[in-house]
Symmetry: C2
Subunit: 422 residues, 2 copies
C-alpha cells in the first residue's frame, strides 16, 4: 500500500503529465506571452514576494543560518527585477520545439527523420536561491515541459510566492495550472516518492550540494542529469605562449572563485616549469591565491604563500583562492592526470602545438575541453545558448551547459505512402 | 566493507575504464581490422563455439527449458556464419567518433562547437541469445567504447567462447583485452555490484524481459537506456486510403508477431468504422488474427474469431496473432488513447489529411511516429542506421532504434587565442 505522501505525489505528477500534453502543442507566441506576463507579475507584485521572503528570512535567522546562507536567500526589489529580466530573456530565445532534421529517403521511399519535442515532465530538486524557481520554471515552460519544483525548506515561502505569480500568469494565457507545480510539503519522503515515479516523470535535475545530488542518484528510478564537482584544470604545455598562459591561469582561478568552472589545479610541462612556475607564482600571489605544490613544483614557486600539496589537494574543489600546482612530463601525462583527478567538467590547455591541442580535445574525458582560453567560459551564456538550466558532467543526452535544446528530445518521424515491410 | 564480488566487479570495471581510454583514441582502420579478424575467428573456430554451446544446451535440457528457449540458445554453423557477417557489417559502417559540428564564433572570438566522442564504458545485461554477445561487443568497439557483458547464466559457456574469440582478435590488433569483458560469474550479486559503479561505468543497456529490466532500473545508479514493451497502434483516420490502411494493418500486425514493433491495437475513426471494420475483420481473419473488440467495434467485425475486449487487452503486448480493436471519435481522441494505453514505442496513422498527420507526429508521445506505413519499419536497419544495439522508449539521449551514433556522446570544444572572461 502506498502511503499518503506517495499517493499525493503520484496525483501531483499525474496532473503534471496531463499538463505536459497540453504544453507540448502550444504555439511559441502563447508561451512567450505567458512568460512576459510572469515577468510583469514579478514587478507588479514585488511587495508580496518580499513579504513571503520575509517569513523565510525570519525562520533562517531563528535557525541560526550563516550570513552567507541568509544572503543567498534574500529577495529584494533589485533581485526581483533581475529575476523578471531573466524570464523576459527566456521569452526572447528561439523555440526549439517542432524542428525537423536529418530527413532522408530510404530505398523503399519512406522518409525518415527526427522531430524535436518536449521531454515531458521534469522534476527539479534544488537548494537555497529562490530565483532558481523562476529560472527553471521559465525554461521548462518555453521548451514545452511541465515542471515539478522542489526547493529547499528554507525557501518554501519565497518559492511558493514566485510560483504563484507564474502560475497565475500562465493560467491567464490559457496554460494549465499544473504546468508549474511546487511540491507543497517539506517532508523528505515526498522527494523519495517523486524519484520513484518513473512512468510519470521523465527527467530529474538536481541542483545543490554533493550530498543532495548523491541522495537523488541513489534513490531515483528516473534518469538524472547532474554535476557533482568542478575540479577544473589549466594545463600549460611546453609550447605555450607564456604571457597568454598567465592571463588564462589567473582568470580561470581568480576571476570568480565560488563557481564550478573556476580552475582548481595547474599542471605545467616539465620543460618550461623552471621558467614558467616562478612567473605563475608571482601572478597567482598577486591575485591572492595560495598555492599547494607538488614536490617538483614547490621549489619553483618562489613568490607568495606556497605549501606542500597532499594527494587530496589535487582532487579538491576549493571554491576559494587556493590552487594545487603540479608538473607533468608530456601532454599525454597531463591528459591521464586530468582524467584521473578531475571531475569531467572543464579543462583547458595552453599550447601552440596543434597536435597537442587536438589530442587534448579528443582525449580529455570532460564535458568542456578548451584550447587557449579560460575555463570560466563553460557557461550557457558564454557558449551562446542564451541561458542554462544547469551543467551536466554526465555523458548521456547533455554534457556541459544545458540550454533550451537540452530540455527537448528527438523522436523519429516517418512519412510513407502505403509502404509495408517485406 | 565491500564484499568479494563487489570488489571483483570494481576491479573489472576499472580495467574497462582504463581500456576505454585507449579505445577512445584508436584509428577507425585499426578498429575495423580487429572486427574483421573477429569475423574470421568465428568462422575458423566454429567447432570450438559449437562445443561450448553444447555445454549450455546440455544444461538447458537437463533443467527442462522449453524447446523454444533451447532453440534461441543454439549456435550452429549457420548462425555462427550469420554472426560473423553481422560483425563484418559493423566494420563497414562509418565511424562516428571525432566528428566536429555546430562550430560558431562568439563575439569575443572564441570558437565553440561539439565533438563526438565515445561514451566510455557500457554495461550490457541481457538474456538468452548468445549472438547478442557478438553484436553488442562489435558495436561498442566500433564506437570506441569498452563493454562489460553480462549474459544469462543459461548461455555462459557460449558467451564466454564468443568473447574469447573476439578478445583474441582484438588483442592481436593491439587493442587491450579489457575492451571486451564478460562477467565471469553467474552470481546475481555481481549485477547489483556493477549497477552501483556509477563512477566507472557510464551507461547500462538491459535487453530482455520486463522483470530483468525492472530490476536493472530499480538497482542502477548508472543511466539506463531501455524499452519495456512494444504496445504499438495502427490508427485509421476517417480520410484514410482504406486499401492502404488494410495493407498497413495486416503487415503491422502479422508480418512477424514476436517482435516489439508489431502492432497490438487497431483504432478506427467512428465515421468510417461501419465501412472499414468489416474489411479489416476479413483481412485480419485471413492472416489468422484473433480480434478483441470494444463494444462499439464488436458488431462491425463480421468475419473471423472476434471476442469482447477487456480494458487490459488494450494495454497488452500480445506478441501473437491477437489484436485489440477500438473506435475513436477523432484524431485527438486517438492520440490521447495512444498516449494513455501505449508504451511510447511505435505508432502509425493512416490518413490523407495533412493536419491529422502532422498533429499525430507532434502529439503522439512515442519514440517512432509513422504516417501511412507499417509499424514494422521502426528498426535500425530500416531507418538506415546500418545496425542497432537496441531500442529505447526513454526520452533522454536516444529514442527508438539506437545505432553507432547513439553509442557516442558530444562534448563541447572551444578554441581561443588567449581569451579570458571579463
Amino acid at each position: 500500500m502506498e502511503n499518503a505522501i506517495a499517493a499525493q505525489m503520484r496525483h501531483l505528477a499525474r496532473e503534471s503529465r496531463n499538463a505536459s500534453r497540453v504544453l507540448a502543442r502550444l504555439r511559441p507566441e502563447l508561451k512567450n506571452q505567458a512568460l512576459i506576463a510572469m515577468a510583469d507579475g514579478f514587478l507588479a507584485r514585488t511587495e508580496e514576494l518580499v513579504a513571503a521572503n520575509g517569513l523565510d528570512l525570519e525562520a533562517a535567522r531563528a535557525k541560526g543560518l550563516s550570513d552567507a546562507m541568509v544572503d543567498r536567500l534574500v529577495l529584494n526589489p533589485k533581485r526581483i527585477a533581475a529575476m523578471a529580466e531573466g524570464v523576459r530573456q527566456v521569452a526572447s530565445l528561439p523555440d526549439p520545439v517542432g524542428s525537423i532534421s536529418d530527413m532522408t529517403t530510404r530505398p523503399n521511399g519512406i522518409q525518415v527523420g527526427r522531430m524535436r519535442v518536449p521531454i515531458g515532465v521534469i522534476g527539479i530538486i534544488y537548494e537555497s536561491r529562490p530565483n532558481v524557481t523562476a529560472d527553471a520554471a521559465s525554461l521548462c515552460l518555453k521548451s514545452g515541459n511541465a515542471c515539478i519544483l522542489r526547493g529547499g525548506s528554507e525557501a518554501i515561502h519565497s518559492n511558493g510566492a514566485i510560483a504563484r505569480v507564474m502560475v497565475e500568469a500562465a493560467s491567464q494565457a490559457g496554460i494549465p495550472k499544473a504546468a508549474i507545480q511546487v511540491v507543497p510539503t517539506t517532508d523528505r519522503q515526498a522527494v523519495v516518492a517523486l524519484l520513484h515515479l518513473d512512468t510519470l516523470i521523465d527527467l530529474i535535475i538536481p541542483r545543490g550540494g554533493k550530498s543532495l545530488i548523491e541522495t537523488v542518484v541513489r534513490e531515483s528510478r528516473i534518469q538524472v542529469i547532474k554535476h557533482y564537482d568542478g575540479i577544473c584544470h589549466v594545463y600549460v604545455d611546453r609550447s605555450a605562449d607564456q604571457g597568454q598562459a598567465l592571463k588564462i591561469l589567473v582568470n580561470s582561478k581568480a576571476q570568480r572563485t565560488g563557481v564550478c568552472n573556476a580552475a582548481e589545479s595547474l599542471l605545467v610541462h616539465r620543460d618550461i616549469a623552471p621558467e614558467f612556475l616562478p612567473k605563475a607564482a608571482e601572478a597567482l600571489a598577486g591575485a591572492g591565491v595560495e598555492m599547494r605544490a607538488s614536490p617538483e613544483a614547490l621549489p619553483l614557486l618562489t613568490t607568495g604563500r606556497v605549501v606542500p600539496a597532499t594527494e587530496e589537494d589535487f582532487r579538491t574543489e576549493f571554491l576559494a583562492l587556493t590552487m594545487a600546482v603540479g608538473v607533468v612530463g608530456s601532454t599525454g601525462e597531463a591528459i591521464a592526470w586530468i582524467n584521473d583527478h578531475g571531475s569531467q567538467h572543464t579543462d583547458t590547455i595552453v599550447t601552440q602545438e596543434h597536435s597537442s591541442a587536438m589530442r587534448f580535445l579528443r582525449e580529455v574525458d570532460s564535458a568542456c575541453c578548451h584550447v587557449n582560453c579560460s575555463t570560466r567560459f563553460s557557461d550557457g551564456g558564454e557558449y551562446g545558448l542564451g541561458c542554462e538550466i544547469g551543467i551536466s558532467t554526465d555523458k548521456l543526452h547533455a554534457r556541459g551547459p544545458m540550454g533550451l535544446v537540452e530540455l527537448t528530445s528527438q523522436k523519429w518521424i516517418v512519412f510513407g505512402d502505403g509502404q509495408v515491410r517485406g
